[in-house]
């Protein structure tokens, strides 16, 4: 625990220097209690932290530590039992259901471990999906939606596979489609829940490379949940949960760089799905994952 305390001490200055910038996410005394039958589960027991725009926060912790619960609350999928959650300065716990849906639609991009793409639906249509739920003035015409979806797919390097179905794409490609989907409404935050949990090492690095690129080039705040320390090291800040509380909150000293690491790796195997010359989707059935 000494290391933890030291880390916390080391983390303090970084927190202090960010005080001047308005945090994009701020939670105060966050408590979440579930009742599963007779048992009461105290998933969060008073978590406090703030995230400034442009941070890449890796949240780790053993299962049951409350990191998933935090994720759901940050993603406006769940409400805290007590405590406050400010998103862009607005108190989310006071929002109506429809307002929350709007926030999920516009402000937050989700990336899941299991990709959660609609089957028998093309990559393009999958990426377009959040646009269909835009409300009011954000509504886009069909042509504009297609254009945006194509831009998004191109940003993750899948521009020429827009007409492929999920079962014609490898796991890494599917996850990239999911990232493209999370980007479509130009969110300020991306919440990634174990995005590399179903991927092999090389594909994981590729996916982390995309996140790093989005974080650095577009300044998107990324909150990444993972239980792999080496994946967490692609971020700028590490938050470790234990028993519903933050145990460690520190800056990552030696941040890994996915692009450099990829360059050092041996060239991708021929069946790697994103080789541009490869046009036939059928050959990717039963790809990497």
């Amino acid at each position: 625990m000494a290391a933890g305390a030291a880390a916390e001490a080391a983390g303090k200055p970084s927190m202090a220097e960010t005080q001047s910038v308005k945090p994009v996410i701020e939670v105060k005394d966050l408590v979440k209690t579930y009742h599963v039958g007779e048992v009461t589960v105290r998933a969060l027991r008073g978590a406090n932290f703030a995230v400034t725009p442009g941070e890449f926060v890796a949240v780790t912790g053993p299962s049951g530590s409350g990191k998933s619960t935090l994720m759901h609350i940050l993603g406006c999928l769940d409400r805290p039992t007590s405590g406050q959650y400010f998103l862009d300065g607005r108190d989310v716990s006071r929002m109506s259901k429809d307002e929350l849906a709007n926030v999920r639609n516009n402000k937050i991009g989700f990336v899941f471990q299991g990709f959660n793409l609609l089957s028998r639906t093309t990559a393009l249509d999958n990426v377009e999906l959040p646009l269909l739920y835009n409300s009011g003035k954000n509504k886009l015409k069909s042509a504009e939606r297609h254009k945006r979806a194509m831009e998004s797919l191109t940003a993750v390097g899948l521009g020429e596979r827009y007409h492929h179905y999920p079962n014609q794409l490898s796991g890494g490609q599917q996850q990239r489609v999911a990232i493209a989907r999370s980007l479509i409404n130009r969110p300020s935050i991306i919440l990634a829940d174990e995005p590399t949990g179903n991927l092999d090492t090389r594909t994981s690095i590729e996916v982390m490379g995309i996140f790093q690129k989005l974080n650095i080039e577009r300044g998107i705040t990324i909150i990444l949940i993972t239980h792999e320390m080496d994946i967490a090291e692609y971020g700028t800040r590490l938050v470790r949960f234990r028993d519903g509380k933050i145990q460690i909150d520190q800056k990552i000293q030696h941040r890994r760089n996915a692009v450099e690491e990829l360059a050092k790796l041996p060239p991708p195997e021929p069946e790697e799905p994103h080789v541009p010359s490869d046009e036939k989707p059928v050959e990717h059935l039963g790809g990497v994952v």
């Binding site: 993603g75 999928l77 429809d98 999920r104 989700f110 028998r120 269909l132 739920y133």
Partner: protein, 404 residues
């Protein structure tokens, strides 16, 4: 989300599971098809009755003599001797009355050569063909001169003519014997077919009513009067007739009529009512299959919601409101039921046409039945689609995303 987009999403989802969609639709198709076929059959039967009423003569009013009472002993209806030929003449002056024919009924054995036949002999007036819109096939009907002189002339119904003289033989000028009295055949009526009560209207002989009175029965009164009104609105005319007859018969107020006035409409309405009841019953039974079809839709939509739990979770996570999800599933249910309804209307038309062609059952599909069946199909979709849709919209996104 716009309704058009919702519709597109629904069509895509239904297209993904074609077989299931078609099977679910089948319930709707059969339900709507059955309702339409049953209504078509009922309407066909009704139209047949209307046709028969028309064949009996439109705008028809029948006046029968009332019951005869003597010393407290009541005889059956039509036995009274209260109606006279003068009554019939008086009715010609009633406003709205077009034609009047006095009638005396008799039965008898009819003999022609070596053939004989028992049939009814109707004594009528010259206007009867006009009242019943019933022309002659051969020869002509008798004249006022024949009525005045109680001439022994007869006009045969086709059944009598065919029986006594053979089919397609013109018997005009031949002599027949009715109750052993010779009558000259001066004409044959065209075939009229069944009357409103199923009796054969062609199995009859017409003679002047005076002839039946004097030569066959030896009576002064008549049995009935047949009147046609100028318009199909027979009710005021029949009321006026009652007034005239009561005055003529010197009936004080409070005394019951000694005659009965019935319009053809009243006679027909009894049978029409019966048919309508049958139609309603058949349609109700067919409606049950529509209900079963609706439950089928609900069943499949519930399965679909369970199956697509993760999809729903995802949609909620990326910004779909509960109402968006509700609408999506509701529209799917409505698309199934409406499309099924459309095909069902087609099936209904096909079945009706087949029944008419192969079983010679008359059918007629009223346009409002189509609208009704279609509307009912849509309502079924909304009603049975709502519960599964609400279930989908109420899912917890976290639970839904975790669902395996």
């Amino acid at each position: 989300m716009s309704i058009l987009m919702t519709l597109r999403i629904a069509l895509k989802a239904l297209n993904r599971n074609k077989m299931r969609t078609i099977l679910t639709m089948l319930g709707m198709i059969i339900g709507v098809g059955a309702v339409i076929t049953m209504v078509a059959l009922g309407r066909g039967a009704q139209a047949t009755i209307e046709e028969q009423v028309k064949s009996a003569g439109t705008n028809l009013i029948n006046i029968n003599a009332g019951n005869f009472q003597q010393g407290g002993v009541r005889q059956g209806a039509g036995m009274a001797t209260s109606l006279t030929a003068e009554d019939a003449t008086a009715l010609r002056q009633v406003p709205g009355v077009q034609y009047v024919s006095a009638g005396v009924n008799s039965r008898g054995q009819v003999i022609a050569g070596n053939q004989n036949w028992s049939t009814q002999v109707q004594g009528v007036d010259v206007d009867l063909p006009a009242i019943r819109s019933w022309p002659t096939k051969y020869g002509s009907f008798f004249t006022p001169q024949d009525v005045n002189t109680a001439a022994k002339v007869a006009v045969l119904g086709t059944v009598v003519s065919d029986t006594l003289f053979g089919t397609d033989v013109d018997p005009t000028g031949q002599i027949i014997r009715i109750r052993n009295q010779p009558f000259k055949v001066i004409g044959v009526m065209t075939s009229k077919g069944q009357g409103p009560f199923g009796q054969d209207q062609d199995d009859t002989i017409f003679t002047p009513y005076t002839t039946v009175q004097k030569k066959l029965q030896g009576i002064q009164h008549i049995n009935n009067i047949t009147v046609s009104s100028e318009t199909p609105d027979t009710a005021p005319v029949s009321d006026a007739i009652s007034v005239v007859l009561r005055t003529r018969h010197k009936l004080p107020p409070g005394e019951p009529d000694d005659f009965m006035v019935r319009t053809q409409e009243e006679i027909a309405s009894v049978r029409t009512e019966t048919t309508r009841t049958m139609t309603t019953l058949l349609a109700a039974i067919a409606g049950v299959s529509l209900l079963v079809g609706g439950i089928g839709i609900m069943n499949i939509m519930l399965v679909s919601v369970t199956e697509r739990t993760r999809e729903i979770g995802l949609r909620l996570a990326i910004g779909a409101r509960g109402s968006d999800v509700l609408l999506q599933f509701l529209v799917e249910a409505i698309v199934i039921s409406l499309f099924g309804g459309l095909l069902g209307i087609g099936l209904g038309f096909g079945l009706s046409a087949a029944l008419e062609k192969f079983l010679q059952w008359p059918t007629s599909i009223p346009p409002n039945a189509i609208a009704m069946a279609f509307g009912f199909a849509a309502a079924t979709g909304v009603f049975f689609g709502f519960y599964p849709a609400r279930k989908a919209a109420g899912l917890d996104p976290i639970e839904a995303l975790r669902y395996e």
